[in-house]
Symmetry: C2
Subunit: 466 residues, 2 copies
């Protein structure tokens, strides 16, 4: 029996406790977007820090200009410096807001274990994104620590609290502490998904993102629509008119220069993805839709993984309560996200969107833009030893090869790590498409959690030669 | 000294008390649109009922399917039945919601008396619309009652609590009690405005209204924009695309058949309105705008009084809190108001809007419409003896002739009265354009209140031959 095997046995024997640590962490409503939850963010950081400290890590909660970050270091096997790789684990303890709260079947911060088609699952905000995924590697560390008294690799840890709000304090923190982290060999990130519950996946491309608020200001005050309708600029009409032109009938984003630098996928890539047998009918049918709403003439996986898009994530203005209010609002606003692919420049998209809006609103409309985040799309080299090692342990755990997929979502910090630290990332995640990430009733399958935990433990063993 | 003169003298001598009754009524937050304020609506009705009962009226609060209605009758001078006119006063005790509450300089339901350019003014939600205007005629009744022990005319009263929400319970109430009210000769309505603070006005045309909610439903749940962006129907994008086409570049409303039945104004009307010397630059400049946002090639007063229009009064969908949430919402909605002019059929506009939307959304979009109100535009005959009497008393009070104007707003109940009771309305109101009706910081000038009260007392005297 190898050391790794004894560690895996210990994981199985102590699995209840790992699940409990995950659930306890989920009880903390660490919503980074809402200032009222700042203390909860700090509590969630303290929770992870205490776990790491108990595992022989030099662990601290460090301040940033935003929510704090958990930093930890472990020297690895004694005398092994330079002989085992140095892994930098990254994750985030912050979660998305829970609204619309009324659509949750159980309270978002009271984790609820329910039977599902794949066995038990846990419902809670953050169940998978990202507390569940982080707790997998924390518990893998614990199993190695308890079984061997140490770690098979040298390890550093960064768990931030601003992933859901653009990492505005975390990014400068990483840059300011570059020397502390750039000695690692690879970043290990668990914030992505599997192909399906039986098929592990490694993500080798990530979309980037530009996320902006636009507020259109018109009259100096709210107006009575009877007294001013037909004369006064209505900011909701004007905003709808401009935003309504963001996509043309072919589904192309009409922001000037938007597709500059976007490359078509290779035939090899196209064939690989086609071989996955993805059913767009099922993918859409599962959410009650029947036809794609995107660029015409592109495959579903291509649109999701290799094409940029644009979604209005929120819109507001005027009266939205019950009944009627005959008002012309003074202003209206929207939140617009652009998913970017490699080749697009975020700064150009920001300026292009500003120009797009400015060209489509009346003279009296004052536009106010806020940029919440800018990240380039990213490709991960598939032939690195770390990707190869991860593929090997996933095949051991699942009994079938891992597939190399794209990821429609953004992990903007991966770009920061590449730029600030010169390090690539290994994206090994265990979420499923129906985990309702960012939606009401977010969940994570206990089976995914367990096999993810075991896969992380295996990876440490393989890379450490144990 | 005529009896009317002694009544006017009493009004001046007891003016403080009238102002106090107005202010006390304003303290009751009778917001009809918000179910939480149902008890306040009932309290506001009880307040008016008690006033009328104390003036010799047979006054009751009667139930409807919505908020209750105050009904009162006074027989007028003894033995004068048939010799004096029977006037039916209509008003409403309900008010608009106060939001956005943070823009109020003083609490909306704590009436605040402040010095302004025209003397004192009272700030409160409902200051003018319509509690202030109703309290003018209630106080005119009181002066006649206290001075003469009775009323110079036969009087009926209807004060409803659903004017701001489409009068859904009040309209069937009027129809069901037609026999109780259709013996009157005219409806007196004080819910309109003056030309300016020195120039009284009678409104002889009113725009109608259709007010609808439209909700666009897409996926069965909120989605992560990274996992579904580019494939899943985004209801906010789709709603903006459809609503953004409501007006073309010429400011014309693009709902099919929208202008059917709309007549151009006569040269006489056009000349009359031109003679008013209305400055659109000032009208727009006062609210921080510089150019009209409406039908090209039409005058400002024509657009306001004689042309239909369309304003989106509210829009919502997705995440509108601080920071970012990368979500594709399951649904998005808007509130859309159409101001109608005589000749347009509300039912056709409702169906036209439905067809307009249906033709502009993707196949998977489910549209849900709610119609909150339908009212035709209306013209009032200017040669009726009641309009002539009102013009005469206004000239007495103000020392200059009243102008006959249109009204951009809607008083849908006037149409109901014409249809259900066969009665015309006399629209004699005392609001000013800058009263911020339906906006934060609604106010009413004490001078307008006082001269309006005196004008109402004069009208009773003239019509009663006193």
């Amino acid at each position: 029996m190898s050391i790794t095997d004894t560690v895996l046995a210990r994981i199985d024997a102590t699995f209840e406790a790992a699940q409990q640590r995950w659930i306890d962490w989920l009880r903390i409503p660490s919503i980074s977007a809402q200032p009222a939850h700042a203390a909860d963010c700090r509590a969630a950081a303290a929770y992870a820090c205490a776990e790491l400290a108990s595992l022989g890590f030099d662990a601290t909660v460090r301040e940033t200009s935003g929510h704090p970050v958990v930093v930890a270091h472990h020297p690895g096997p004694v005398g092994a410096a330079g002989k085992v790789p140095h892994l930098l684990y990254y994750g985030h303890y912050d979660v998305q807001p829970a609204d619309p709260i009324e659509l949750w079947h159980s309270p978002p911060f009271e984790p609820t274990v329910v039977d599902g088609p794949h066995g038990k699952r846990v419902y809670a905000r953050g169940a998978v994104d990202d507390k569940g995924q982080v707790q997998m590697w924390l518990s893998a560390f614990r199993a190695w620590h308890e079984e061997t008294g140490g770690m098979p690799c040298r390890i550093s840890v960064l768990i931030e609290g601003e992933e859901e709000v653009g990492s505005t304090g975390f990014k400068p923190f990483v840059e300011a502490n570059r020397e502390e982290f750039n000695k690692a060999d690879i970043i290990v990130v668990s914030d992505t998904g599997m192909w399906d519950i039986d098929t592990p996946a490694l993500s080798t491309s990530l979309r980037g993102m530009v996320y902006m608020d636009v507020v259109l200001k018109a009259a100096s005050r709210d107006l009575h629509s009877g007294m001013y309708g037909g004369s006064a600029l209505n900011p909701i009409n004007a905003l709808a008119t401009a935003l309504g032109q963001l996509k043309n009938a072919e589904g192309r984003v009409m922001v000037p220069g938007y597709y500059d630098g976007v490359r078509d996928i290779s035939t090899r890539q196209s064939n690989q993805w086609a071989a996955l047998g993805f059913s767009e009918d099922k993918y859409l049918g599962d959410i009650g839709l029947s036809e794609p709403y995107g660029e015409k003439g592109r495959g579903a996986l291509e649109r999701l993984w290799a094409r940029p898009t644009c979604d209005i994530c929120g819109i507001w203005g005027g009266y939205s309560g019950p009944g009627t209010k005959t008002v012309i609002a003074a202003e209206a606003g929207a939140k617009v996200s652009f998913r970017l692919v490699p080749g697009q420049e975020p700064g150009k998209v920001v300026n292009g969107f500003k120009a797009f809006m400015q060209a489509r609103v009346p003279k009296d409309a004052k536009l106010v833009f806020t940029v919440h985040g800018e990240a380039e799309g990213l490709e991960i080299p598939v032939d690195s030893p770390f990707v190869q090692a991860a593929a090997a342990v996933l095949e051991e755990e699942y009994g079938r090869p891992a597939v190399m997929i794209g990821c429609g979502g953004s992990i903007p910090i991966v770009e920061t790590f590449q730029k600030a630290l010169g390090l690539d990332s290994l994206l090994m995640g265990f979420g499923l498409d129906d985990d309702q990430v960012h939606s009401p009733n977010e969940k994570f399958e206990v089976r995914c959690f367990r096999q993810g935990l075991r896969s992380h433990a295996r990876l440490l063993g393989r890379l450490g030669g144990a």
